[in-house]
Amino acid sequence: MCLAVPGKIISINSENPNLITAKVSFGGAIKEINIQWLPEAKVGDYILAHVGTALSIINEKEAKEAIKTANEFEEMQKKLDDKTL
């Protein structure tokens, strides 16, 4: 139930200010998601959706950073190993 999945906003419908929704693509499958808790969300953003509502906008910079840090260690280790050889 706690599953929450990332999807990309394709269009936003703000006709009803009490219930702002967006068409969101989850790897190609399109679903209508409530985005009223993310007033700054715009088309093209990736959001995290849970039981039909979006909870956060994915921070792309942080996303890249996390993967980079994970991979950097290896290079650092290699450099250290090269020096000790």
Binding site: M1, C2, L3, A4, V5, P6, K8, N18, L19, F26, G27, N34, Q36, W37, L38, P39, Y46, L48, H50, V51, G52, T53, L55, S56, I58, N59, E60, E62, A63, E65, A66, I67, T69, A70, N71, F73, E74, Q77
Partner: protein, 360 residues
Amino acid sequence: MKFVDEYRNIETVKKIAKQIKSITTKKWTIMEICGGQTHSIMKYNLQEFLPDEITLVHGPGCPVCVTALDVIDKAHLIAKKEDVIFTSFGDMLRVPGSFTDLLKIKAEGNDVRIVYSPLDAVNIAEQNPEKKVVFLAVGFETTAPANAMSVLEAKRRSINNYSILSSHVLVPPAMHAILGSENNLIQGFLAAGHVCTVMGYEEYIPISQQYNSPIIITGFEPVDILQGILACIKQLENNEAFVHNSYKRMVKKEGNIHAKKTMFEVFEISNKNWRGIGEIPNSGLKVKNKYKEFDADKIFSLEDYKIEEPKVCISGEIMQGLKKPFECPAFGKECLPENPLGAPMVSNEGACNAYFRYKK
């Protein structure tokens, strides 16, 4: 899929695993609080990537598993009424109550419907004005705001045949209960990233300080989980204890203030009974009196329904990290995913179910 595939990359997983190995010198016991993380750990066999010194214990973070038996029974009593359409998330349908489950009740001809979102249940109520539509509103802080939104939406649209049977649980009080128990084995926590997308992580700071335990805000993919473990081991090995956000792409310190506002508009904090664990003070949310016409407990006069839990199932000890599923005598024998005796065997976020599926 973007933001998924790169976090399942096996090469990246191996690199982080190598880092973890290189810094681990002592034995450590870490609890992942969330059932979604338990599921990933079992599915991707992440324990295999870790050095033997690290033990992962699976916490009580599966709403299906911890929803108290009396709530499940109440759901069944309501769902059997002729003038009711009972709606629920799919994973609650097979949860065994004292006498039956929702799937059986549905098979007996009652109107039980699975919804993807609580707002779908509001729409069903609007389309069926002659019926009482009840939604089984369970979940942690991740789900509670959407459940609250359904109440506000029903009120806004003047839908007066919609109500929720509410049983929400909160993560920080459960962490208090685990860390404060005299049997506690847990030295560090992976906190549930999606709960924190709503709540932020300020409330974990005093817990980390009080119990001198690292708390790492952690995501759900294999790379996320190993990064959470790495951050936790770093602190433990350095004899440090603070809150670290290892899920920055999703979680902000303050969480989502709009979602929180919706949640606390409809709900207030209350004591809560956790299935298998018992009552934890201030660990739940109940519908405020202001919204009592949307509270199924009141509408169906079930506020005082109480029932003793049977003793066969040791899920309470499993969820506190005192035992592993295969130490339960019923595991894989009388208790199977097709015939669950306890809730942790029902949902694929439950520890018993995850062990059964991936570790037979």
